[in-house]
Every structure is written in structure tokens, then in C-alpha cells.
């Protein structure tokens, strides 16, 4: 099965991204939303987590949440795809189930 995981917590504040990465199976996808989008940025002390996990997991970040926070799409970790709400819906539909890491 392929699962879409969503993470809405900053990795600087909570461990949701860590837990999600360590429990997501190869071939699944992780979408970062709300405060979780800061986890997608390159050059932070957490960037490495995504860079390493990307070998097995596809990463997405919600563009509207980046933009709202003044974070530039061009500064996300290489290989993280930016999607809008419509893309979020597509991801939910294209995976067999959705887990939110609240």
C-alpha cells in the first residue's frame, strides 16, 4: 500500500517529522503543511533529515503555507515538490490512505 503522510509541525518545535520519517515505508509520500513547511527548507539544522529520507520517500510541501510565511519556493530542499491545495487533493486521491501526524 502507499500512504500519504501529512506533517503540520515545525521540526524545531515537535518530533512529528522525525516520527513520520522513521515510520513511513519506502514508496510512500510526505506532505508538509502549515508550520510543517519550515521542515522543507534547505540550509537548516533539519534539512538533512529530508535529504536522506528522500532516497525512499517522495516529499511535497504546500506552496500557500510557504508563501504565507515568507518562505521562498526556490529555497526548499532540492527534490521537494511544491503543490497547492488542488495538488494536496490529488496526492490524497492518488495514495491509498492518508495519515496526519498531529
Amino acid at each position: 500500500m502507499t500512504m500519504l503522510h501529512t506533517v503540520n509541525k515545525s521540526p524545531f518545535e515537535r518530533n512529528a517529522l522525525d516520527s513520520c520519517i522513521s515510520l513511513a515505508k519506502a514508496g510512500s509520500s510526505i506532505l508538509l503543511t502549515e508550520d510543517g513547511v519550515v521542515g522543507a527548507m534547505q540550509g537548516t539544522s533539519h534539512s538533512k533529515k529530508i535529504e536522506e529520507a528522500m532516497a525512499n520517500i517522495s516529499f511535497y510541501v504546500l506552496g500557500p503555507d510557504l508563501k504565507a510565511r515568507g518562505l521562498s519556493e526556490s529555497n526548499v530542499v532540492n527534490g521537494v515538490k511544491v503543490v497547492d491545495y488542488s495538488g494536496f487533493v490529488d496526492l490524497a486521491a492518488d495514495h491509498e490512505s492518508v495519515q496526519s501526524w498531529l
Partner: protein, 130 residues
């Protein structure tokens, strides 16, 4: 595709309700069905008829009411969570001897079974919370 949505946080404090609304709208715009939005925990406060946000801010309860009206979305407030937090429709107010009710148009109060049923009937259940 049939979507069910769970909202665990109230309006304004947390982005969950806004994100859920944007998701629901996008899904409907793409031709999907949002068959039920279930409000749990403080999420029941999204159903208040008494919110008066500033003019230049979005009106979250009204946004949901409009969505329900336009697209026939079933908005359900969990009865147990709603009673704890003082969200009462006319029947619940009467039953509990309260003088007022405060559930906005398009929302209804029902049991947790509606959430489980959403999980069973929807092709995807998407959770928004803290």
C-alpha cells in the same frame, strides 16, 4: 472520489479548520465529493452561530455554512464534544434545560458513530488538527 474530513481544532487559534476548508473546496472544485466534515475536540466550536470576527477577517463558521449550502456537505458536530464545550442546537438546549442555542446554519449535532461511518464510507479520510 468520496472524501471524509475530520477537524480537531476550533476556529482561529489553529490553522486546522482553514486548511480543512481549503482542502474541501479544492476537492469539490476538482469534481470530488466531500461527503461529511466531522468536527471533534475543540473543532466543534467551528459551528458557532455567535462568532463576530472583524470585517477584514474571514468568517470561518460562515465559510463552512456556505460550503454546506452550496455543495450539500454534511457538517457534523460531535455531540459529546459539543456538550462539554457549550455548543447546543435547539433540541440539545431544550433537553439540557438551557435558555439558548448556538449552532450555525448547515451544522448538525450527532454522535461519534457519524465519524466512524465517514471512515467506512469515504474513499479517503483526511484529518486536520494540532
Amino acid at each position: 472520489m468520496k472524501f471524509g474530513i475530520l477537524v480537531n481544532e476550533g476556529p482561529y487559534t489553529h490553522q486546522a479548520s482553514d486548511s480543512a476548508y481549503k482542502f474541501a473546496k479544492a476537492a469539490i472544485d476538482k469534481g470530488h465529493e466531500v461527503f461529511r466534515v466531522f468536527f471533534y475536540h475543540d473543532g466543534v466550536n467551528n459551528g458557532t452561530a455567535l462568532a463576530v470576527p472583524p470585517q477584514d477577517d474571514r468568517h470561518i463558521p460562515n465559510q463552512w455554512s456556505e460550503l454546506a449550502k452550496q455543495h450539500n456537505v454534511d457538517l457534523v458536530l460531535c455531540v459529546a464534544a459539543a456538550q462539554r464545550r457549550g455548543m447546543l442546537d435547539e433540541d440539545e438546549a431544550k433537553r439540557n434545560g438551557k435558555s439558548a442555542n448556538n449552532v450555525a446554519e448547515g451544522f448538525r449535532i450527532s454522535g461519534l458513530g457519524q465519524l466512524i461511518e465517514a471512515g467506512i464510507q469515504a474513499d479517503r479520510l483526511v484529518v486536520f488538527g494540532d
